[in-house]
Amino acid sequence: MRRAGLQWAGLNLGGKRLARLRVGIPRALAFYEYFPLWREFFARAGADVVASPPTTEEILSDGIRLAVDEACLPVKAFYGHAHYLAPRVDVLFVPRLVSLERRVFTCPKFLGLPEMIKSGVGGLPPVLDVKVDANRRASGPFLAALRAAAALGCPPARAAAAYWRGCRALLADRARVAAGAPGAGAPGATRIAVLGHTYMVHDPVISMGVVDALRRLGAEVVCAEEVPEAEVRREAGRLPKRLYWAFARRTMGSALHLMHTGGVAGILHLVPFGCGSDALISDLVARFARRAGMPFMMLTVDEHSGTAGVLTRLEAFFDMVQRGRAG
């Protein structure tokens, strides 16, 4: 079963040289986790990195048109970004992120993403769909990176160096996010945690601008990435059964951490319509929050959500949290 070594399968790039290759990276889904790594890696490997612009209404509506109705909103956004990049790049990077840690998965839609994009988006350039699966030695992140570089015609030594630089860029970026976190905001401001997938919370269009709206109301916003990873694992590890989705573990772990330390006055879980793991996890978090006496709201957004409705619910939630603090 396990094939050792690498497959040096190159993409058919029509004779283009690596130096002139434009590698397109859709600004959706795992972009929000790994872009610093990918940008550094592909640039060091000698390609031009082209990221799609932040989600616009137009990109999103293209995605909604191309994807199946039942797909979650961020996956639809990914279709839109892929569609935007298709005529603008030589290679489209759609990795198959199965697992980045043993026995912890991303989500079934990440597993089938390359095929979904290939069957849903027309006029695609060659798709670089390298698989990253930490459960199998032959397709761990490092070998996957070498394979991606090889497909673009980059020699392994240079690819290894590029990967190393990429990892350092990613760690530096994460350290920056973690450091910029606590202590900010006006003294005495109500701290609200906004939990959810990074690709939800940090995409201003599909998150319906929830983070900014809360700040305008006077809240200090805390995101899940600002909770130390060790705490996330420790708290999530106390569940009777190991959570096997990476994103859900972060949501659950940070929610439990915030409930126990009381660092925030309320928790908002931002859930895209159609997200399978959030549907279960949000219910569990809501039950734990109720038992712990922590104000909690799940806010589901989809392509039909009106900004006014979202804003009203945010205001109501914020009022409730503040009243709870005062009383």
């Binding site: 797909a71 989500c107 839609k109 597993l111 089938g112 095929e115 059964k241 793991s277 219910d283």
Partner: protein, 366 residues
Amino acid sequence: MRVTFPHMGTLHIPVRAMLAALGVDVVLAPPSGAETVSIGARHAPEFACFPLKLNLGNFVQAHALGADTILMAGGVGPCRFGYYAQVQREILRDLGCQYDMIVLEPPRGHLAELLHQLRELVGRRSLAEVWRAVGLAWEKFLALDAVDAAAMRVRAREARRGETSRAWRLCLEWIDDAPDRAAVRQARDRGLAALGRVGQRDAAAALRVGIVGEVFMVLEPAANLGVAERLGEMGVEVHRSVMLSDWIRTHLFLDALRLRRGDDPVRRAARPYLDHFVGGEGRDTVGHTVLYAGAGYDGVVHVLPFTCMPEIVAKSILPRVTAAHDIPVLSLVLDEHAAEGGVLTRLEAFVDVLWQRRAAAGVVGR
């Protein structure tokens, strides 16, 4: 200890027989129906998948009948099924339903943990007793699948509507009542004979349709609104991609122990379209659709619960299979909001399209 477990099609017949043979006191929830759906939908997360809601409904109903222990399967992802029991435990706790849960997780490499859990359930039993109980259950699985397949063949040409289903329900009773393996085989033969006596119309060519999708939705009539029976009554010969015994063999046994061969024909068929597992039955759905096309079926009905992650991947890819193999696929996304009338209309329209395609192709008979 009074044990209950969730319904899935006719699963309760062999599982109850096995547990009873091991001396376990079994309390079955009433068959899943409108009440089950309504309890499940009221207490489960809104966007949880339909099987979770039905299971939950079963548990609440069984609790009212005195069950105090749940026997449930687990999983290691990425399908949500593996986390059902955890969510259900918290919901039942908040509802005030006192339950112990025995969740059978697929063993990772070593069987000790699983055996320990099973011992907790059945106490100390001799190997011969366990073997006899498992053998009886397996015989019942095979018998149920045999009569199910025969019923789906016979129903397409039945002269009086509903006669096949009546005969089939008798078969279930006979198989359920059979106390040992020989009796199960007799019940099966008696059932097949009864189905053989169902009055047939002249043997006009029937349409052939395969049912693919998430296993619970394929097997549980309360979840799929009896799609196999409805299609049969429209004169369609139905084939299920997953029969109960297949599911036990491949998903509970081979996959859990990682014994399924890499060159499994279903996986091979899926390879040009989806060459990777996506959890649940996502890849099998694609593979079975390709195989049905190759076997000359007229169409495929794909049943999936609303928000099912692996099947959404499959649904995104099936249009490519349809285009490449010229096989019509009807995807039915179902949950508590699915109305029988709406589904029936869509099935009728689909069957009409399939007959028109046959007429256009000039195929008479098969």
